[in-house]
């Protein structure tokens, strides 16, 4: 289903839309309060942009440098060209270690590769340990936001979900009780896990180390307790040097939630004695995106979610309306590169207001890329005949002033003369909830001609 269809379904419950909009606006507002206190915030964004652009232009050598240094640290490095290979590699490592119970901390990459169902098909238990992720996992839903995966659910829905799956008492959505129960439930999973999977926020070429940012400490809990740690990362997570971390850690949490830094910024470098650490480096369409000059900057993304929180369309249509692993503005420029036809409505789910580009901590020109995808989509995917024909007609009309004048006259006459019931009837979608202006007798052209005559 297209974004607009799913969005109109979401909009049937206006109270829910209001609540969703306000919850995310609150996060955007916190981001504003936080970044406006940082002197040189805009320079920090420039730096983040520059480092990422440099990294992408030298991606091959930084990846090799990272591999070499990680291996020297005793980490096993694997390369996956696509999601399927990624899943196979992870599965193989787990098999080799007789792992049946796996705890995972939040990783959008494993979502993208659909790792959970792949492992579950072989009887493995995969538990998402980030609270929001666990909530959507229990609800058998995909995350609706990359930082706040269960933002579409209110506390009462979580209450019911926990009663059903965790056997909690009804608590009228008491957040303290619910998080406490979730903690107990997850503790047991952490203690009994055979392996831990985490994502990677930043992988440092210079050291072969990597950083995972969480607020709940669940990545640490998993990785420190389990005998095997598998970290999965997209190729674009590389940064050249350790000193660059300072730039990105400052940008990330402020943009995401308005925190100066995430509660945990966990640095991993080598496995503990007797333990194993693996890194799976995944392409899955990224190098193809890198080859598109207009869209390569989309790979700068550090997954802060600020563009979602600020997007007036995202806030009022919900993450699931994008029907893509990464929703919102950034998802709308990444997804078409993966499947143009499936995601062809996403670049149109925007007014091109530009707020996304303004909040983006690494200055991705998101709204310009949305515009560029539109141009490609109309050429390369099937379009409704009416849309194509009307655009052609408008194009012709606007290149011929006399035709424009004639059509304008007719339009004004219709708006002035026809009854509202006719004007607002189908197929006039505008008229469903909005009036059209009353057609004036005189156009500006006509007024100007008259004025010139009098002068």
């Amino acid at each position: 289903m297209s974004h607009s269809k799913l969005a109109s379904i979401f909009n049937k419950d206006e109270k829910k839309v209001d609540w969703h909009d306000k919850a995310l606006w609150f996060v955007r507002h916190k981001r504003d309060l936080s970044v406006h206190q940082v002197k040189g915030w805009e320079s920090l964004r420039d730096l983040g942009h520059g480092i990422k652009a440099h990294m992408l232009s030298n991606l091959d050598s930084y990846l090799q440098e990272f591999e070499k240094n990680a291996q020297a640290n005793g980490v096993e490095v694997h390369w996956a060209a696509n999601g399927e290979e990624h899943n196979q590699i992870v599965h193989k490592i787990l098999k080799e270690n007789n792992a049946k119970k796996i705890v995972k901390s939040k990783s959008m990459l494993t979502e993208e590769c659909h790792l959970n169902p792949y492992l579950e098909a072989d009887g493995m238990e995969v538990i998402d340990t980030d609270l929001g992720e666990r909530i959507v996992q229990l609800a058998k839903e995909p995350p609706s936001h990359i930082v706040l995966p269960a933002i579409h659910k209110n506390k009462h829905e979580v209450d019911e979900l926990f009663q059903e799956h965790l056997g909690t008492e009804p608590c009228d959505g008491d957040p303290q009780y619910l998080t406490h129960e979730a903690r107990k439930h997850l503790r047991e999973k952490f203690i009994t896990a055979d392996a831990a999977i985490t994502g990677v926020n930043f992988a440092i070429a210079e050291t072969g180390g990597f950083v995972v940012c969480t607020n709940e400490g669940n990545a640490d809990m998993g990785a420190h307790l389990a005998p095997v740690h598998i970290a999965c990362m997209g190729v674009e997570k590389i940064i050249p040097k350790q000193e660059h971390l300072g730039v990105f850690l400052r940008l990330l949490a402020r943009s995401a939630t308005g925190q100066p830094i995430t509660t945990y910024s966990s640095h991993f470098r080598k496995p503990k004695d007797g333990r194993k650490m693996h890194i799976v480096i995944v392409d899955n369409g990224r190098s193809e995106q890198l080859s598109r000059p207009d869209f390569r900057a989309s790979l700068h993304c550090i997954r802060c979610g600020a563009c979602m929180n600020t997007c007036p369309i995202y806030r009022r249509s919900g993450g699931h309306s994008y029907d893509a692993t990464i929703p919102g503005p950034i998802g709308s420029i990444l997804s078409p590169g993966k499947d143009l036809t499936k995601h062809s409505s996403l670049p149109f789910a925007s007014t091109l207001c530009g707020s996304c580009s303004n909040v983006c901590p690494v200055k991705i020109d998101i709204h310009s890329q949305l515009y560029k995808w539109r141009q490609i989509i109309t050429k390369e995917t099937p379009q409704p005949f009416v849309k194509k024909a009307s655009m052609k007609m408008m194009g012709t009309m606007f290149s011929k002033p006399s035709q424009f004048e004639r059509v304008g006259k007719l339009a004004r006459w219709s708006l002035r003369t026809l009854p509202k019931s006719v004007i607002n009837a189908k197929p006039n979608t505008w008229g469903k909830e909005r009036d059209l202006p009353k057609g004036p007798k005189q156009s500006f052209d006509e007024w100007y001609a008259e004025k010139r005559k009098q002068e």
Binding site: S4, S8, N11, T351, S355, N358, F398
Partner: protein, 245 residues
Amino acid sequence: MKVGLFIPCYINQLYPQVGIATVEVLEKLNVEIVYPTGQTCCGQPMANSGYENESVGACNNFVQNFKEFDYIVTPSGSCAYHVKKHYNILEQTPEVVKVRDNVYELCDFIVNVLKIKDLGASFPAKVGVHKSCHGLRGLRLGSCSEVVGPYFSSIDDLLKEVKGVELMELKRKDECCGFGGTFAVTEEAVSVKMGKDKIQDHLDSGVEVITATDTSCLMHLEGLVNRNKQPLKILHVAEILNSQL
């Protein structure tokens, strides 16, 4: 100084009063304007819908009409932005480059080219400014809430000098209204919801008159206000700047 006046297609046909106010404001400032009569549209409706190719005729027509002028002034931030940003689809002849360099939104032109703020207008009302996105974030006609930096705004600069105008502070000072060209129709549900929320913000802030640099946003908001019979008046900023009440 040769100034060409560009009146966007929908203003020409549906809101001639905005064009007239623009002419009268500029004449009061002793700007000699020429209105090339062969003009139609900047090409944005097709281009934003993904049919940039179908807009080439309109773009060429625009360049032909305005290539002579030192300045092109238009009561629309969005159209000015389109010419500046998206006329890269044309061959970059000196004429095209000149047109792209010289196009100005009305308030921008008055404040930053003419260097005038007080137009001697009076308009006793509580006014809420809708900061239209293409002018704000595209042309940077004002500071944006997302960006860290000093406050500025050419439309506020002009309105602050209008006698009787009380500028009302909004909760969300520069959120999009949801018009977005064909978005208003293809994403009808979200577009309408955005418009309704925008209007509510103005109502909650005690606004009597909503104004903006762009009639396109205002047409969308006016459509909702009229349908829902809400106590708000909608005027383009040129109409306020041209008032002597």
